[in-house]
């Protein structure tokens, strides 16, 4: 059953990949793909054709970015949900999206180039979560998890207020639309160079999660039980938060804020493979990658202009998620 679930997920990803590569506003032929591949291997000389450029430098990076973003958000969501033993937790719980949003919006306000906006978004996400963690560490004598979540809510609300302030200060003709689009997420402008920075960071966050997958699973039993089994709860939790935050902040910096994926995909993955973190993490990441591929293909195909991903993930995701819930299988615990 579980093996077949993984085969199903892999097949879905493969189908999504081919579909995403094939569909888009610029019509591509197999020859374009062939030439782009030959050039990558150094077997092609001369000036590249437009179709080849679209395939190699536009569609392929975008499809890779979609998989990376979907996998990272869903993986981080699964991690946080396990860590906090709460199915309503998403990667934004500790304020990473709000912080990244504030960083990016500040970058837009200062008219920074794209790389500067991305760097500020990344830094904003990390700093916000670090702040939340420090607040929680400073408030001893309370339930650590509860203080973390409340700290995330408070700092996230503060960041949200600052974003609103920046919107008032921004140039209404120039910067305000850019801010709105950024806060709704898009993969339209992603380049290979962005991926080359973001992908290693995501992997760097993922490696500890994979290495410590069993201990993270033990955390879901509750702090006392985990301690009884010899796990250093506080240190492990700190490390896991850092890893999941790194994954989230890296992708949010290149894609903007994309909601829903980190909340919904881990649920669906749990329905497929159960709550065991060692299986949940890869299932959620595979599913997240497929889902984002499909959503992004829709985003660039339904109109000539880009539809923000945050809108599509909610419009496509919410009804599907409700339908799954209505089927009424008890899936938590």
């Amino acid at each position: 059953m579980r093996r077949s679930a993984f085969l199903l997920l892999l097949a879905a990803l493969a189908v999504g990949l081919v579909l995403a590569l094939a569909v888009g506003p610029y019509p591509l032929t197999l020859a374009d793909v062939w030439h782009a591949a030959a050039r990558a291997l150094g077997a092609e000389a001369g000036a590249p054709t437009s179709g080849e450029i679209v395939f190699g430098r536009v569609r392929l990076p975008r499809v890779c970015a979609g998989m990376l973003v979907g996998a990272a958000l869903a993986g981080a969501g699964a991690t946080y949900q396990t860590l906090f033993r709460n199915p309503l937790v998403s990667p934004d719980i500790l304020g990473v999206a709000a912080g990244a949003g504030l960083g990016a919006v500040a970058g837009i306000l200062m008219s920074l180039p794209v790389a500067g906006i991305q760097a500020l978004a990344f830094a904003g996400g990390l700093v916000t979560v670090a702040l939340v963690y420090l607040i929680a560490a400073a408030l001893r004598g309370h339930d650590h998890t509860l203080v973390l979540v409340l700290g995330g809510v408070v700092v996230g609300a503060l960041a949200g207020a600052c974003i609103s302030l920046v919107k008032i200060l921004a140039d209404p003709y120039d910067q305000l639309p850019a801010i709105t689009f950024w806060l709704l997420g898009s993969l339209a402008g992603v380049k290979l160079a962005d991926l080359a920075v973001a992908a290693p960071l995501v992997v760097a966050g993922l490696v500890p999660l994979v290495l410590y997958r069993w201990r993270i699973g033990v955390l879901s039993l509750g702090d006392d039980e985990a301690r009884a089994l010899g796990v250093d709860v506080v240190r492990l939790r700190g490390g896991v938060i850092a890893a999941a935050t790194l994954m989230t902040a890296s992708v949010v910096a290149i894609s903007g804020v994309i909601g829903w994926v980190g909340l919904m995909i881990p649920h669906i993955a749990r329905m497929l493979v159960g709550p065991n973190f060692a299986r949940l993490l890869p299932a959620a990441m595979l599913l997240g990658a497929s889902f984002m591929l499909i959503v992004d293909t829709v985003a660039r195909s339904i109109a000539r202009v880009e539809t923000p991903l945050g809108i599509l993930t909610a419009v496509l995701g919410a009804p599907f998620f409700l339908w799954l819930l209505a089927r009424g299988r008890k899936t938590w615990g």
Binding site: P25, Y26, I53, P113, A303
Partner: protein, 350 residues
């Protein structure tokens, strides 16, 4: 009976006295609201940035402040008396940054906005007018209505002859463009993409206020609106390649500096043909920001870029005349170089 007659005549006399004492007239604004405006307006107030440009052009001496103060690089082109006026914020009736008490303290005789005349804005204007007791006119800011709107406003502000000169200039510019472009067939029209943002992937759809100038100057905006409402949209570079524009006009200095080193943009026909231009934004934007009468020079500039054989005249001379007439400033050659950096064919500016 006699007493009643007496009362009536006294009432009539009082009304007559009052109306002659206040010396006011009634003006119908673009939404059909009838607004009573004092005969002599000494202090005018612009409700938003578009109106501020119009007010500055028509009657800088009557300004009481700016919705947003001129930026440092704009100040050198503006009259000293006007550029140092205080900042009030926007005043439209909802989501304002202007404080009504501060506005009242400035004692304007007339408030006006220049732009959208939708029922929402009309009702918001009425609310502000009821609240403050200051007449509030809504003037149609659409490009094709501009000459009429300017004349109407000139009358309200008591600067009719100045308004006439400005309105004439707008009409002459539009007639010049129509006359010279009338025999350019649809197939020979330039296909233009407006690139906004540092990545160049934000644009205005056809019919949007952001690309209005490009379309009016004879360019075909490649970003067709389709079923969507005209406005700002994000697009993918794939879509730009599929549109294959032969001219790109950008709004963003970062994009203007970076596109040439990007191999994907290099595949766009406009980039290959070295037809990417940076829209001037001094002293106010030439194609947008704010979408007001500052854009009139943008018409001449874009028409010249797109159809150089139809417009052989030097844009520098036209820009100099425009800035002199509209902003009452004499620009030096160095200032013109700065204004037009990146805006002319041959050489990429900086």
């Amino acid at each position: 009976m006699h007493r009643q007659l007496l009362r009536c005549s006294i009432a009539l006399a009082v009304v007559g006295l009052l109306s002659s004492g206040l010396a006011a007239r009634e003006i119908a604004d673009a939404t059909g609201r009838r607004v009573t405006v004092p005969d002599s307006v000494a202090r005018g107030m612009a409700a938003g940035p578009t109106a501020a440009v119009v007010l500055y052009v028509l009657a800088p001496e009557k300004m009481v402040g700016w919705p947003s103060a001129p930026r440092p690089n704009e100040r050198e082109f503006l009259l000293p008396a006007a550029r140092d006026l205080p900042e009030f914020g926007r005043l439209t009736g909802r989501g304002d940054t202007a404080n009504v008490e501060v506005v009242l303290k400035a004692h304007p005789d007339l408030i006006f906005d220049f732009g959208s005349v939708s029922p929402t804005f009309a009702s918001l204007a009425s609310r502000v007018q009821e609240q403050t007791g200051i007449p509030y006119l809504l003037i149609d800011g659409r490009l094709d209505r501009t000459p009429g709107s300017i004349r109407q406003l000139g009358e309200a502000l008591g600067v009719s002859s100045r308004a006439e000169a400005i309105a004439r200039y707008v009409e002459d510019t539009e007639q010049l463009i129509d006359a010279r472009l009338k025999d350019v067939p649809a197939a020979a029209r330039r296909r233009v993409y407006l690139a906004r943002e540092p990545n160049g992937l934000e644009t205005g759809l056809t019919g949007s206020i952001n690309t209005e100038i490009i379309e009016r100057a004879g360019g075909v905006n490649v970003a067709e609106r389709g079923s969507a409402r005209g406005g700002i949209a994000n697009v993918s570079i794939e879509q730009v390649l599929a549109w294959a524009p032969d001219t790109i006009i950008t709004w963003d200095p970062h994009f203007f500096e970076s596109y040439a080193s990007d191999p994907v943009w290099a595949a766009v026909p406009a980039v290959r043909a070295k037809r990417v231009f940076l829209a001037p934004r001094l002293p106010f934007g030439w194609i947008d920001a704010p979408p007001s009468i500052n854009r009139v020079i943008g018409l001449r500039w874009i028409a010249g870029l797109l159809y150089p054989d139809k417009f052989p005249e030097d844009i520098r001379a036209a820009a100099r005349d425009f800035i002199k007439l509209f902003y009452q400033a004499d620009v030096t050659d160095q200032q013109l170089d700065r204004i037009l950096a990146g805006a002319q064919p041959g050489g990429r500016g900086r």
